[in-house]
């Protein structure tokens, strides 16, 4: 505990945000070393501290590529038109924005960077919530036109201070692949609209980067049934 005293509060905050961001990428299935997610505060400080003891966000961005399991999970079923489709996932670029206020300008610069770097999707972590117009750009169709294929996700640092999926009340969420989803619907003779739903703005859905139409399996402990699984359709 004493060694924490020697770091600035901002440094500790940023360390936790960084770790959660890494864990998030690992949980989504990107290739990330396990020990990366458990970087110690001392290591973090030595890598990312400026002379004045504050974290240097410009040195923190990282990119990762999806693991084979993740690629198979996002595989697209081949059709007659497109017999060998690409999986709907690719490399991701995670950036920690250092500006106090993030608006259209920063978001467009970031999108441009993603397109130039040929990234499939991106995660932007900002200090404060974005302006309304920037969110409108993210939501609207035009954002997809000029941005990367997989879209841009935006997190506020405060949301990443704690990894919410580690909380005891948060059940385990497992994303189903297209094939598994088809099997599930076949097994229960359902249409997907008959499934219970989950919003893509749900904190866990945001953590997993769910997209509309995907189905997530939620496994929770049950006193009566041991384990209990339910399925939700992201909307």
């Amino acid at each position: 505990m004493e060694d924490r005293e020697s770091y600035s509060p901002n440094m500790i905050r940023m360390w936790r945000v960084y770790r959660t961001a890494k864990e998030m990428c690992l949980d989504r299935g990107y290739n990330i070393l396990e020990e990366d997610t458990q970087i110690s505060l001392a290591d973090f400080a030595s890598r990312f501290a400026r002379e004045d003891g504050e974290p240097d966000r410009t040195r923190m961005p990282f990119s990762c590529v999806p693991s084979p399991e993740m690629l198979s999970k996002y595989a697209v079923t081949p059709t007659a038109k497109d017999p060998d489709p690409q999986p709907a996932i690719g490399s991701i670029w995670v950036e920690f924005n250092q500006d106090e206020n993030v608006g259209l300008k920063q978001l467009r610069d970031y999108m441009q960077h993603l397109v130039n770097g040929n990234f499939y999707s991106g995660i932007m972590v900002c200090i404060k919530p974005m302006t309304g117009m920037a969110l409108r750009l993210l939501r609207g169709a035009s954002g997809i036109e000029e941005g990367p294929k997989g879209g841009v996700e935006v997190f506020v640092e405060q949301d990443l201070l704690v990894n919410i999926t580690k909380h005891e009340l948060v059940p385990k969420h497992v994303l189903l692949s297209k094939e598994e989803k088809a099997q599930l619907l076949e097994r229960y003779r359902l249409r997907e609209t008959q499934l219970p739903r989950i919003q893509v703005t749900d904190p866990v859905a945001k953590y997993l980067g769910l997209r509309r139409g995907q189905v997530v399996k939620i496994i929770r402990k049950s006193e009566t049934a041991g384990r209990y699984a339910s399925y939700r359709w992201a909307i």
Partner: protein, 387 residues
């Protein structure tokens, strides 16, 4: 909803035997009740459910529970015929009208009116989305304003001013605030026609002391760093107060008010037509320009109107100001033939007045009353006489 029960598993989603939840859903509410009574018997049958449903006649469950025990085989075949086909039809205690809920819904003919209402509302939402996108793109464009380097905010170039005013039409005051916010984040003065960077507060403190007429005030630093000068603030807010509070997608008709700018060269902007602007930049001398321009401007008016018509094509259903001359109908007042006669009290204070309750004459006494009225305008009294 019976679903979660049906989705109960032991690990994998696809390897288990309990069908009860789904069965309840398949057979409707009555079937669900039965299942609660006999879930254990239902289970073995469910294991074999993929085989034909008639083979289960000899098994344990009573015929009533059978529909619920074989859900996955049944969605296409309704339960009742399956039972009748093999043996003696047992009398069901369930209502006759059990239709499997999984059956495709009876195809109702599309109600034309409902369809139209749905389409109408969909188009409204679509229009709203388009306007929001339009505002967003305007703001993105206005971030780069003014287009001319070292432009003067008091004398903006005519083309910039014209575009700015056009952009402002769908804006609400809140959109204008977002524009100012975005420009400030880009380190520019909040007024879109001003090229200067925003003012820097004297210190980095969160709150600042400001000298005003009323004495010293404490103000947020953010508020100080919005404009490059007080004049710019005045000019920008002059635009803001003219903006329409109602969202653009709810505005009726074409009265899109012209936004006025606070400029020192208003004459340039008032007859601003696109073609004339080009001339202005090309031709140097201002003396000869004036005479030519009046002619050229009127000649160019038709071209400009044609351009506007193309633009207007993008947003159908909304009249714009140029459309005013399309309305050719003359509005004529309906003039009364006879001078208006003030209502005389004598009628009301006459024989009927004692029937009136606070001025209202009950129906039972109305007939007499009406006769009295009809006598007044003698021209059409025979039309109104009942019977």
């Amino acid at each position: 909803m019976g679903l979660p029960g049906g989705l109960q598993t032991e690990g994998s989603p696809f390897s288990h035997g309990c069908h009860t939840g789904v069965a309840g859903r398949v057979c409707g509410s009555e079937g669900g009740l039965k299942i609660l009574n006999a879930p254990r018997q239902a289970q073995p049958a469910a294991e074999a459910s993929s085989s034909s449903s008639s083979s289960k006649q000899g098994q344990g469950p009573t015929p009533q529970t059978e529909p619920s025990s074989a859900p996955s085989a049944l969605p296409e075949v309704s339960p009742a015929p399956a039972v009748t086909a093999v043996g003696m039809p047992p009398k069901s205690i369930l209502k006759n009208s059990t239709v499997p809920t999984n059956a495709p819904p009876a195809s109702k003919p599309v109600n034309k009116r409902h369809l139209n209402v749905a389409l109408h509302h969909a188009s409204l939402i679509e229009q709203r989305k388009q306007i929001e996108q339009q505002v967003l793109h305007s703001i993105i464009t206005l971030l780069e304003f003014p287009t001319v380097q070292n432009a003067d905010p008091t004398r903006p170039s005519a083309s910039d001013a014209l575009r700015f005013r056009d952009f402002m039409i769908p804006f609400q005051p809140s959109d204008y605030d977002s524009l100012i916010e975005e420009r400030n984040i880009a380190e520019k003065c909040g007024y879109a026609l001003c090229p200067h960077p925003k003012r820097q507060a004297p210190s980095r403190a969160k709150k600042q002391f400001v000298d005003t007429d009323k004495g010293v005030e404490i103000v947020d630093r953010k508020l100080l760093e919005v404009w490059c000068s007080d004049d710019c603030a005045r000019r920008a807010l002059y635009v803001k107060v003219q903006l329409n509070e109602t969202p653009a997608w709810m505005r009726q008709g074409g009265h899109e008010d012209k936004i006025e700018l606070m400029v020192e060269n208003p004459e340039d902007h008032h007859k601003a037509l696109p073609l004339r602007l080009k001339k202005e930049t090309a031709a140097g001398s201002s003396k000869s320009r004036k005479d030519d321009d009046i002619v050229a401007a009127w000649a160019a008016r038709d071209d400009a109107l044609a351009d506007l018509a193309v633009e207007r094509g993008e947003k159908p259903g909304r009249l714009s100001k140029a459309n005013k001359d399309l309305i050719t109908a003359q509005i004529r007042e309906r003039v009364g033939q006879s001078p208006p006669v003030p209502p005389s009290l004598s009628e009301q204070t006459g024989a009927q007045s004692q029937m009136a309750i606070e001025g209202h004459v009950p129906r039972i006494n109305r007939e007499q009353w009406q006769d009295d009225e009809d006598e007044d305008n003698a021209t059409d009294w025979d039309k109104h006489i009942p019977g």
